[in-house]
Symmetry: C2
Subunit: 201 residues, 2 copies
């Protein structure tokens, strides 16, 4: 199968919660998300968990370079992934070029996100973290009402907060009339300006 970036690979389906690749496993593939949502996670020996990033359709993931995956990747809901072999003797000429270009672009994007994320993690309050996060999610989703494909635990491990704090901040944003939730996974922004003001530049 070939996709919109001209990458050649195999389409695979994953069930909610299913592992796409494991931490420390050989990095034989890179992945392009076709449909659904994915999170990457890393475990410390003492059980602390870090969510590296959330991925949406079109995103490349699993390219933390080196010969091992430094993060595991899991499907958040049912999803479809294009698995692209990293080393493929049959890939030559223009094909090879496209592949290398895509991996380069993906890696620099990854680096930029990581740097933004560092900023968010190090020097911001809980409310700023949650507000920034919601703003990012709305940016992805261009529908009227945005969806959170991940649990509160995932959000917490991404933002460096506990689930209780995440929940409290969401509650506060709603109480202040800035966002409105319809069930815990769907919301819409009522005061975009106010939300942006809370989020970090």
């Amino acid at each position: 199968m070939s996709d919109s970036l001209g990458l050649v690979g195999v389409r695979m389906h994953f069930a909610p919660g299913e592992e796409i690749c494991a931490q420390d496993e050989d990095a034989d593939y890179v992945y392009r998300l076709i449909d659904g949502a994915v999170r990457t996670t890393r475990l410390l020996s003492d059980g602390r968990r870090q969510v590296g990033e959330f991925y949406y359709p079109g995103d490349l993931f699993g390219l933390e370079s080196g010969d091992r995956h430094r993060f595991s990747a899991e499907a958040l809901g049912a999803c479809e992934v294009l698995m692209v072999k990293r080393v493929s003797p049959s890939r030559t000429g223009a094909d090879r070029d496209r592949f290398e270009r895509a991996v380069w672009a993906g890696t620099t994007t990854e680096l930029q996100r990581a740097q933004e994320h560092m900023m968010l993690l190090s020097r911001t309050t809980a409310i700023e973290k949650v507000a920034s996060f919601l703003l990012h999610v709305v940016g992805r989703d261009r529908a009227e009402t945005a969806t959170l494909p991940m649990t509160r635990q995932d959000m917490g491990d991404y933002l460096g907060l506990t689930i209780e704090t995440v929940s409290r901040m969401l509650g506060r944003l709603q109480a202040d009339g800035i966002v409105e939730f319809a069930g815990c996974r769907h919301f819409r922004v009522r005061q975009h300006i106010a939300l942006s003001r809370l989020a970090v530049a």
Copy 2:
């Protein structure tokens, strides 16, 4: 001038505190540190500062890809830098190859460090942050006694802590007999095991 990686550029000297490149300025060069120490920093509109990374001789920096520098870089002490033009028509064949290989290696290293750093920022206590940091510094410096080329403020902005907290944690490590300071910029590790135990896996 050509260096050990085969990179071609111009050697420049910078005075303590001098800016090597500015945030948001066109990224015309990449830099290789020859001698001294460098920090990269990023400013938020409200004045909050983030130190991205510290660099030592041999390191490449300034390659946060895109056409603008996302971080500024400043000399921590007197230092010497090889400035390598990013776009150079005269660079062909093996030269071009070496350049691209070096930039690729530098970028993936950068990504890995950023990912480690995220882990450190998000889910660890002040004492763990400081202990991890000292351990990293000692790893660089293979001398008996290690040197901190940066201020407490720099360490704080790197670790997401206030200078007071950094100072307190250093004091605690010394009081516990784990490290020993000779002036605030020089220290040696007295109990390596204890320090590693405090640092994050």
